[in-house]
Amino acid sequence: MLYGLVLAGGHSRRMHRDKAVLEYAGRTQLQRALELLAPRVHLSFVSVRADQRAEPARAGHELIVDLTPGLGPIGGIQAALHAQPQCAWLVLACDLPFLTAATLDHLLARRDPRHLATAYRSSYDGLPEPLCAIFEPTCRAPIDQWIESGQRCPREWLAASDALLLEPLESQALENVNTPEQYASALGQLQPGASRRLRVRYFALLREQAGRADEELASAARTPLELYEELRARHGLGLAPEALRVAINDDFGDWRTLLSEGDTVAFLPPVAGG
């Protein structure tokens, strides 16, 4: 059984306000995280400190309270592993505004329960990203020992343990937002209508229909699917997206991926090599 856990027990010290209730497009980060989890897990919980139990944004949800105060994120993960010892946990931080269904689905598809955990590598430094990861029930004893030995950092725990580490699917998906400046920048990028510079490549039939092999443009499209619909209308492209695959920055991608500034998107008609 897979349960979901949103870590919302932090102090948000650098943000100077509770990160769980920061809003993007009218939804709080906590709501957004729970909505991403809901279709993918059996049940979702919110990890909190004991003194946050009655806090209005958290009180309506299933809560898991830290066993030992002051441990940070690893304390929340430990408490969950003890609350439901038979279950695996899909753990999310509540400050990941760029996280998408595509990144979660990829993590779930690649999960291998023979490892203690399945996690992404950071697109910045290659280290494990513990705050969008799956922790198997077998993590419980090793994490207890890690905490007992005085260690706190879940990233270091993953790096030192038998965790399956995946290359990031989307470069920005796990970028977290810790300061008011980062929040303002994320709001700008996620606001409907914000536009990005993108490069688009066309092949075969689509290249002929578009009358070009590539182009650079500014688009408000958030995903490859939205971008394709925009370009399909503009260039009169004759293929439906269901017939195509999409590539982002020279590898196969997902139609629902959140596009980033500077991405190259290629639309691939049905192939016919050999």
Binding site: L205, G238, A243, A247, F252, A272, G274
Partner: protein
């Protein structure tokens, strides 16, 4: 020195003798090669010539994945797949797959796996030029026609979730 990529794209004629030499090793007792040739007809139409187009970086990457899978899955020693791009005439070699291993059984299986996967997964497209003077992108024209019909009569939009398992190959 860099190891040559497992999957390669070529703008000029493939040379089987050269390709084969790379797979010849003293530990190998078996070698299987597959050549896909340009045929003079497809689906009842006379074909005069072809063009292949590739999304090169992804073709090399995905082709490399297929060849690595084949090596792991069948335990073969050496694998290579070379694919043409550009203009091809009838009888030209469009694709070459070679596998060498200690024994023949795994060579045959790995070779079959590679060519089947390459056809379905590697971003390479084929345009056929017909005797009648027109031309068409293989596997695309049908989808385009379906999309057009769907656009004209949305209420009759029919299921279009096929996976292109079919292939109109020369092989």
């Amino acid at each position: 020195m860099h190891e040559p990529p497992l999957f390669s794209l070529h703008e000029s004629a493939l040379e089987p003798q050269q390709l084969r030499a790379r797979l010849q090793q003293s530990a190998c007792g078996g070698f299987v090669a597959f050549e896909g040739w340009v045929r003079d007809h497809n689906e009842g139409r006379r074909v005069l010539r072809l063009e292949y187009e590739a999304f090169a970086p992804l073709a090399v990457r995905e082709g490399g994945r297929i060849l690595t899978e084949a090596r792991e899955r069948f335990g073969v020693q050496h694998v290579h797949c070379a694919h043409r791009i550009g203009a091809l005439g009838i009888g030209d070699i469009a694709v070459w797959v070679g596998v060498s291993a200690a024994h023949r059984g795994e060579c045959f299986e790995a070779c079959r796996y590679i060519i089947d996967e390459v056809k379905h997964r590697v971003p390479i497209w084929k345009k056929e030029h017909y005797e009648s003077g027109d031309s068409g992108w293989v596997n695309c024209e049908h989808c385009a026609a379906v999309a057009q019909r769907a656009g004209q009569a949305p209420e009759q939009k029919h299921e279009h979730a096929h996976r292109h398992e079919h292939s109109h190959s020369h092989a």
